[in-house]
């Protein structure tokens, strides 16, 4: 199968959906002429024109708010918030308007809006350009939260997000854009709300998502040599969580480690861990362990930045502890 980057996979998804449905259009800062801060929308302006690929002013609240208005009238806007760190500027629109409007209006409208953004550390950009804020979003009933880790999922999930009649926040990771992986030619969709087992194992389950999937797979490789068979579950969607895949894996391995890049306290892992407790507490042979980001703003210094998020080593160590 051909191999393409995560960035190309996302670009193909946008291109295919725009070609398929003229109601799909793109809006965001520097997405047209520049092609997006991370290059995801490159080439689409030339292909679809300024009407459907719109550069906006630096007005995050209005980007999301107008996306909602257009969605209510039948368009399928895909809006971009350049860094998830800027999501605070549009949080009112997202939380009070986008997420609630259908419910408040008695189910009489739909909001087919996709909000693309990216997050995560790794480029030593400091506290305003490195955050993982997925837990904020998981707390909002009425939206979906998708976080792909591989090119194949990035493409399939973005296409599904655009076709979904609900608002979806689609969170990419800045350190994944250049990663490559096999992506089939032609049309396919990846279902929202479905986790995927990326590595099968019997002794312990890692529940993870986004860039931490890559670290977890490396850790699993190392642990295999130590005789520990690790199952790695890529959650892919954080809201709604795929409770069934989580349950089945834990019932098989009886041990769970959660690997997440966001800060630990009230992070995504807290919800994931409680889901395990609710679904299959009786099957656990050891306490659940979270390997998570440090509860601090992201520091600039490259050594501190590495320390602030999980590493392959800290995952290996954490699993060894749980296996003791």
């Amino acid at each position: 199968m051909r191999e393409i980057t995560y960035r190309q996979a996302l670009n193909e998804a946008l291109d295919e959906e725009m070609a398929r449905d003229e109601k799909v259009f793109l809006m965001g800062e520097d997405i047209a002429i520049y092609g997006g801060a991370y290059g995801v929308t490159a080439g689409l302006l030339n292909k679809y024109g300024e009407d459907r690929v719109r550069d906006t002013p630096i007005s995050e609240a209005a980007i999301v708010g107008t996306g909602l208005g257009a969605a209510l009238l039948g368009y399928r806007p895909v809006v971009e918030i350049m860094y998830i760190d800027f999501i605070g500027l549009c949080m009112d629109q997202l939380n009070n308007q986008v997420a609630k409007i259908r419910y408040m209006f008695g189910g009489k409208c739909t909001v087919p809006l996709t909000i693309r953004t990216e997050g995560g550390a790794g480029r030593t950009l400091g506290a305003h350009h490195s955050q993982s804020l997925e837990a904020w979003l998981m707390h909002i009933p009425g939206i979906k939260v998708v976080m792909p880790a591989t090119p194949v999922d990035a493409k399939g999930l973005l296409k599904s997000s655009i076709r979904d009649n609900n608002p979806v926040v689609f969170i990419e990771h800045k350190m994944l854009y250049n990663t490559k992986g096999p992506v089939p030619d032609g049309e396919y969709l990846t279902p929202i709300g479905k986790a995927e087992i990326k590595r099968h194992g019997n002794d312990i389950t890692i529940l993870t998502y986004s860039r931490m999937l890559l670290f977890s797979l490396q850790a699993a490789e190392i642990l295999e040599k130590e005789g520990i068979s690790v199952e790695v579950v890529d959650l892919r969607t954080l809201l709604p969580l795929d409770r069934e895949t989580i349950r089945k894996s834990v019932m098989k391995t009886n041990r769970v480690v959660i690997v997440e890049e966001d800060t630990k306290t009230a992070g995504a892992g807290a919800e994931i861990g409680m889901t395990v407790i609710e679904e299959c507490f009786d099957y656990l042979d050891a306490p659940i362990k979270r390997i998570a980001g440090a509860d601090v703003p992201m520091p600039k210094a490259p050594n501190l930045e590495k320390l602030a998020i999980p590493s392959v080593e800290s995952i290996v160590e954490g699993i060894m502890e749980v296996m003791k």
């Binding site: 800062e29 520097d30 002429i33 520049y34 801060a37 550069d55 906006t56 002013p57 630096i58 007005s59 995050e60 609240a61 209005a62 760190d85 800027f86 500027l89 480029r123 030593t124 950009l125 400091g126 506290a127 305003h128 350009h129 440090a294 509860d295 601090v296 703003p297 520091p299 600039k300 210094a301 490259p302 050594n303 501190l304 320390l307 602030a308």
Partner: protein, 320 residues
């Protein structure tokens, strides 16, 4: 035209050269991967920071932007500590925890660069509120780019400041672009003076490539603000020479436009005026340049040789 003394002319030239050479050096360090991460460089815009900040008292305040190296240097920043901060070193002005986007030096009245466009507006306006409440004669200069004009908090703060007559000078650095998007594609009102009219505050637009023009206008408006008349808006028309950030291929602007603004380079043009007016000799200009080069080399060496922060620093400074 503003007439500086001989010493003042030398200081203005020196500071602009410091900023230019500092930024050229950062570009070099980025290319060599000695500096990591992003850096928005101020080259081309030196006359704005230097013209405005040299007109303040040392104990006045500023808020800066994501393009903050120039403001930090002009606000009497220590070159060594600034360079070290950009490299994320222990000896940096924020102990290596902030980086280029969060340069701050509170002892010098620099309330910080900001990773969020328009992020400084609230801080500046609130600082001005505190100054007014404490009957201080100090003021705040709030730097922001043309791009920040379009974020909501800018409007909220300008309204509040005008309503409460706060001592803040809003300083818009109009370099024609917010990343790749030109003001003509982002702003419904092209004449930014009109923005101030919406909040019933005065405004002026000046040539931000001319340090003396900036200084003349800044001096006038700083006095206006200091005298309790409330806020004002000063727009400095300028240009950034490098791309928005390192990876920017600059496809959104023409080579002709870049050339046009290169010819308006604030540094050689001001040096020429200094010589013509007899404020400085050609030899003195060369001496200043050479001494700046030396200072930048020293700062670079200092920063590179400085250690990274200790691992324990990860958890310090979160709460008092």
């Amino acid at each position: 035209m503003y007439e500086p003394s001989k010493e003042e002319a030398a200081r203005l030239l020196r500071q602009m050269m410091e900023i230019r050479q500092f930024e050229d050096k950062i570009m070099e360090l980025l290319a060599k991967n000695i500096a990591e991460g992003g850096s928005h460089l101020y080259a081309g815009m030196e006359a704005v920071a230097v013209g405005v900040i040299s007109s303040l008292n040392p104990d006045d305040y500023i808020t800066s932007t994501h393009r903050g190296h120039g403001h930090a240097i002009a606000k009497d920043g220590d070159l060594n500590a600034l360079m070290a901060e950009i490299l994320g070193k222990k000896t940096g002005v924020c102990k290596g925890k902030g980086g280029s986007l969060h340069l701050a030096d509170l002892n010098k009245g620099n309330l910080g660069a900001n990773g969020i466009v328009a992020g400084g507006l609230g801080i500046a306006t609130g600082a001005a509120l505190a100054l007014k409440m404490s009957k201080s004669s100090k003021i705040v200069v709030c730097f922001f780019g043309d791009g920040a004009l379009n974020n909501g908090i800018t409007h909220e703060c300008m309204n509040m400041a005008s309503l409460w007559k706060l001592p803040v000078l809003y300083l818009c650095e109009n370099n024609l672009y917010a990343m790749s998007v030109s003001i003509f594609r982002a702003c419904s009102v092209k004449d930014f003076k009109k923005r101030a009219a919406a909040y019933d505050m005065p405004a002026e637009v000046v040539d931000g490539m001319d340090v003396l023009a900036v200084k003349e206008a800044a001096t006038k408006w700083i006095e206006y603000v200091r005298n309790g008349n409330g806020p004002c808006l000063l727009v400095c028309n300028t240009y950034r020479y490098y791309g928005h950030s390192r990876s920017d291929p600059r496809v959104y602007r023409t080579k002709e436009e870049e050339k046009f603004y290169k010819e308006k380079d604030p540094i050689p043009n001001f040096a020429k005026i200094c010589i013509q007016k007899g404020w400085l000799t050609e030899h003195e200009v060369k001496q200043i340049e050479a001494s700046v080069t030396k200072a930048i080399e020293e700062a670079t060496e200092y920063a590179i040789k400085s250690p990274l922060p200790d691992p324990e620093e990860l958890y310090t400074d979160l709460y008092v």
